[in-house]
Symmetry: C2
Subunit: 233 residues, 2 copies
């Protein structure tokens, strides 16, 4: 795999998503290596005079957006016009696994608040079946018991994501991340999401189900494939 | 209603629950005016030489327990022997609404980790139908949009619990509390819990369903009624 080609593809997807932006929009700004290209493209639209405002899904995206001149606001009660974000894995039903960047909780809040949620990926993220490391955001209080409960629900052993606070990664929200190795496949994503949501101490997770309105998948040939949910135009 | 009689009833319930404690147990220590009496009774057992350890559900309960000489530990991965806590409302299926004290998220983690979860209340908390102010713990990020989503799910207008940080209450976990006025009754608690759990930005809520192993309800006459889930002995 050619790293330059992947980067070009990510840029193509981000630029393509920026084509959906119109004057006056309030935008959700995703986190990660593909979302960065969307933010860069939005910054050019602002520089060209478009009146846009952004809600950032991470401190990193907020810093990039502010630096590039995009006005940043808190998520309004009324929601957003458009949110654009990357994904770690996309299945044919446009269900997603997200959270390699650790921002999945804020990303899901922003995606849920958007009238239109658009996913930008390179085509290597498209799979026949959902399967990836599944990140779960966990309250520090009682985290050992919560980790054990996550393992029982998922049927595999989760691991704390390593980081700098006592060796563990800490999210922008001050919580821990359990990485669940589900690269082998997630049989029933809806059931798993419901069971994880019901575990006290689980604050969020990387399963984004029924949320994607459009997936823009950049191909190695430089083109972008548009994928829409079945049954929707 | 006689305030002294209610306090005596709360004490009777707390003392009664302490009768379930045996040497060597690791205990979940609840939060609130009835759980305080349980903690006081446990402290007497420790003073009498019983080897006990406690996991506190709030900073307030931790302070009370430490002051009284109960060793406090983090929630072990293997869980707890017994957790005892109060409730705001108990229905005939022993479903609960909790969280008037704002500690419902930690309380639910502790209750879920306990082999046996015992609820201590005065009998005024027993109702034919679940109905009370339902507290929901909300991530500060995106909280305006999350509050709107909670209102759509619950069908009534939630309010931020007032407090001292910019006028709003902040939990021990650093989050906000939306109080949902459901005193009129909660028609389908399981469905509501599932819908609330699925809202990104909702980190926890006061519905405790299928968790109670025993309810100790102190009567005005000084006695304690024991209630067990239907179909269990």
């Amino acid at each position: 795999v050619d790293a330059d080609a992947i980067e070009r593809a990510k840029r193509a997807a981000g630029d393509n998503a920026a084509g959906l932006v119109t004057d006056g929009m309030t935008l959700g700004l995703g986190t990660g290596s593909t979302a960065r290209w969307f933010i860069a493209a939005v910054a050019r639209l602002v520089a060209d005079g478009m009146r846009l405002r952004g809600v950032a899904t991470s401190l990193a995206s907020e810093a990039q957006a502010r630096e590039a001149g995009i006005p940043i606001i808190d998520l309004p009660a009324g929601g957003l016009d458009l949110a654009v974000d990357g994904a770690d894995c996309v299945d044919p039903d446009l269900r997603l696994v997200k959270g390699a960047g650790g921002a999945m909780l804020r990303e899901k809040i922003v995606a849920a608040a958007a009238e239109r949620f658009v996913v930008v990926v390179d085509e290597s993220k498209l799979r026949d079946r959902l399967g990836a490391v599944l990140p779960v955001e966990v309250l520090p209080f009682g985290s050992a018991a919560t980790l054990a409960a996550i393992g029982r629900v998922c049927g595999v052993e989760p691991r704390w994501r390593p980081g700098t606070q006592d060796g563990r990664y800490v999210t922008d929200n001050g919580n821990l991340v359990a990485d669940v190795p589900m690269e082998g496949g997630i049989g029933d994503p809806e059931a798993l999401a419901e069971q994880l949501d019901a575990v006290p101490g689980v604050l969020g997770h990387g399963l984004f189900l029924g949320m994607s309105d459009l997936v823009l998948a950049a191909r190695a040939d430089g083109g972008v494939t548009e994928l829409r949910p079945r049954g929707r135009s």
